[in-house]
Symmetry: C2
Subunit: 524 residues, 2 copies
């Protein structure tokens, strides 16, 4: 049952009197629940509790933390249909997506549990002392990674499970040994409360300290700002808009003690269609991309919002097929009327720019909040001149740019902002012929794909979901995949520390049996 | 021969008419050289050249980059006595120190060359495709680290060689594949110009692109600010004061495209003297610490500026011996009159705080700019109340705090700002008895030492020279040791990329023979 209250460690709390409701975009009505915004006092309570929990939780063994994460996965599953129903009501997304995303969320938790059981992620490095070294003896020095402290996580509107309450940021931070305070997303606070209850149950069952997790409600920006400014918060994870992420990043950098903010933000995910892709598979790629652009009403951070090709009949034919095919697809409901409105505003703004031709704009009648897929076309010259066309329109929308030649295509790539992904469609020999284009694309992205679609982000250790600003605020890290844990840790060196008082990961006998870099060689 | 000009790629340049001079603190006179401040035009020229160089340099093989770094080391050595003489004139430091630091600088360059020859530092991770996976096929995904782009390095006043022009920041950034623009330190611009000439010679001899290195002079802050704000600069390395580093960090975070700044800043490096250290070795530790505090006129970032013990006769005896011993040592010349003045101001301010007792203040006559070693004593209660006493006084200076008990000691540690190092003097059994104290210390530092002195930072892969703010602006990285390379790189994933077009580090056959994480296992 959803109470609408804040989860502060193992208790529910509603001290304030400011409330808000979530919204069902399919029925175009508010949901039945009322949520209580966290007060200043509650925010402070959650942070103090997390700080206390950190002192214990940072030293909990990898195996115990793994058990905690695995139990969270089971408790999420145990929420059963109430979770699925609430998810669907608060997002307008279909049941299949809800079940799939729940599976992904559980898979992420288990991936971090596996990482913890293996234990090697702490990057232990050991260089023993050399008391006889000339001209100076060398001390025994060993280092490994330790958690930063309490972390704040801002969930994403478009992934109520996999990138929210118990999503990738929370899973990776808990795995690292950092207590987490989630600023609940106001569009799916009911889903968030249910997932929070699963986390608390798991924490109690596995004996984790009270305060290892809290979930605070808020429909505005104040609660988030207060959390980021709180001196006892040591890092921030965020998935959302460029404006929101950049604002938090700047807030964190202006603190007396600046803290790291990893914000995964906007991206238009350029797709470069090279001539041989058009020669061989033009229609097939157009059909595939129509689906990718319309998938989930285009509400993915890896949605292909920009397609770049070299002008000619074949590109025109590709654009025509893409436009025809996307109009055959069923348009779907967006997450929230606000997102729907913003989509239409963005679409209108870009459609009205000089030189833009509207190639497809779904015209049939639709229900409330259903996004009409749109394809625009523009010349390379117009695109280069007008950076408004470089901005993300969150929804089933893509701009196809018809470039004069590969030099202009390369120039466009060099002028793009940072992106999560970049895709190349073509033959292997194209990679030779257009190496400057490929090089330019690679320099702008966190992930580069060959003959595929960027939507669908695999959770694995080789994944980079991040990229140069504004794709993320720190391109040196990823928010998807097991390496995401590295955002919440810092290395500490131990010099001449007695063996038996070292953390187990650094002791001579390697009692954890982990992979370590010893005297320059990997061993276990 | 020192021209006083800026080094912009392979040419010398003096387009401006603003000049300044360096200063010999031993003779208390300006040196013979005049330096030309870089103009806006020259700054832009250096950045444009670095951007062009990056396109080539990022793809230079590890072996070729290693040859470049090794040749820089040789060319620095080939500068011979002119370098040593200039270093001594511009710093007031003795010849032995100059030769030692030159050796360290060459050692750092060679350590990064060895890292490049090995090649495994790129953290290649390979997870092959599984086309038959159910319910969805898994793409082939591989990732590795790539250089960020042109980097700006601000050298340190106190290490004209090892943390300046060709110091650790430059060596690690060049190793990563990032062109470097050094903002020359105004206290040793002559030394900087000589080292720059060695780097340029090495770049030419080993066929590196013009612009891979530049060195710009400036006595003020404008040149540095313009460099950090330049949109084509992608990261910043800094060693120096908290004010300077924080200002650059904030400047970088306010850019349209924020960039990472790694600033290694202030630290008072707390030393916890536990009772058994006083019982067994009190006098020996006092003598050793007197030397460590006075070493190099205390001008080290790891200088022990704070000693914490539990009150009693033995602590008093330790303080007395420390004070007596430090007055027996030869006081030495500081780097510059400005540093000397600042030292005396800081010393005066802290000496005048409530409850502070001056235990030692060298009183004999000295030459110009010679720093008089100083030891202050204060109670734990006074120290806790007065954060002025927590501030670094850069010089041969230390505050000894006499705590009521271990609870107060722990409380003090919990209230300290972030530190580069923390040291524990005691017996092994103390580590058990005082585990709360040790825990509190570890949470504030990047490196924790047992029964040693924090001065002397080994260059190795297990070293952490960094720590929670304000020790550094990003505790997730180190500025000393081979891991320092990680500050200048970001991961990129390749999805379904054809094998022969992958970077060599990611190709199936592992042609570089590096250690890679393949399907979750380390192999080579």
């Amino acid at each position: 049952m959803i109470s609408g209250k804040n989860t502060i460690g193992n208790k529910l709390s509603n001290q304030g009197d400011v409330t808000y409701k979530t919204f069902n975009p399919k029925t175009n009505k508010e949901t039945e629940w009322t949520f209580f915004e966290a007060t200043k006092f509650e925010i402070n309570e959650a942070v103090e509790l997390a700080t206390k929990a950190y002192k214990v939780y940072k030293d909990v063994s990898g195996d115990k933390k793994a058990q905690f994460l695995e139990t969270i996965a089971l408790e999420i599953e145990a929420l059963g249909d109430e979770l699925i129903d609430t998810y669907c009501k608060e997002s307008g997304l279909p049941e299949g997506r809800a079940r799939g995303e729940r599976g992904r969320t559980m898979g992420q938790l288990r991936a971090f549990a596996a990482l913890l059981k293996d234990g090697s992620w702490v990057e232990a490095v050991i260089e023993k002392g050399q008391p006889d070294r000339e001209p100076m003896p060398k001390a025994d020095i060993r280092k490994m990674l330790f958690p930063l402290g309490p972390v704040v996580v801002f969930g994403a509107s478009n992934f109520p499970l996999a990138f929210s309450t118990a999503g990738g940021d929370t899973a990776s931070a808990l795995a690292a040994g950092c207590p987490v305070i989630v600023k609940s997303h106001p569009m799916h606070s009911g889903t968030g409360e249910l997932v929070s209850s699963a986390i608390i149950k798991a924490a109690e069952k596995t004996g984790m300290p009270n305060g290892v997790f809290s979930n605070l409600n808020s429909s505005g920006i104040e609660v988030g700002q207060q959390l980021v400014k709180h001196p006892k918060i040591k890092a921030v994870g965020f998935t959302g808009s460029i404006n929101g992420g950049t604002a938090l990043y700047k807030l964190a950098s202006e603190r007396d003690e600046p803290i790291p903010v990893f914000a995964e933000m906007g991206s238009i995910n350029p797709v470069v269609v090279l001539p041989s892709a058009l020669d061989i598979d033009g229609d097939a790629w157009a059909t595939k991309y129509a689906s990718s652009i319309n998938l989930g009403a285009g509400q993915f951070c890896t949605n292909p919002g920009l397609v770049l090709g070299i002008q000619g009949n074949k590109l025109d034919s590709f654009i025509n097929t893409l436009s025809e095919e996307i109009l055959k697809l069923e348009p779907t409901c967006m997450l929230h009327p606000n997102i729907y409105t913003k989509y239409n505003e963005g679409k209108k703004e870009l459609s009205g720019q000089d030189g833009v031709i509207i190639m497809a704009d779904y015209a049939k009648e639709t229900s409330d909040n259903v996004a009409r897929p749109t394809i625009l076309k523009v010349s390379g010259a117009s695109f280069l001149l007008n950076t408004k066309l470089h901005k993300e329109v969150f929804g089933p929308f893509s701009v196809v740019v018809s470039c004069e030649n590969s030099v202009q295509l390369e120039e466009i790539l060099n002028h793009l902002e940072g992106q999560l992904t970049g895709t190349v469609l073509g033959s292997e020999s194209d990679l030779n012929t257009y190496d400057n284009v490929i090089d330019a694309l690679q320099s702008r992205v966190g992930r580069i794909l060959f003959n595929g679609v960027p939507t669908g982000v695999e959770v694995c250790s080789s994944m980079v979901h991040g990229g140069p600003f504004p794709a993320s605020t720190d391109a040196r890290f990823t928010s998807v995949g097991t390496s995401a844990i590295k955002r919440w840790v810092r290395p500490v060196s131990f010099q001449d520390w007695p063996n038996k008082f070292l953390p187990k990961a650094l002791q001579n006998a390697n009692p954890l049996g982990i992979v370590r870099l010893e005297e320059g060689r990997y061993t276990n």
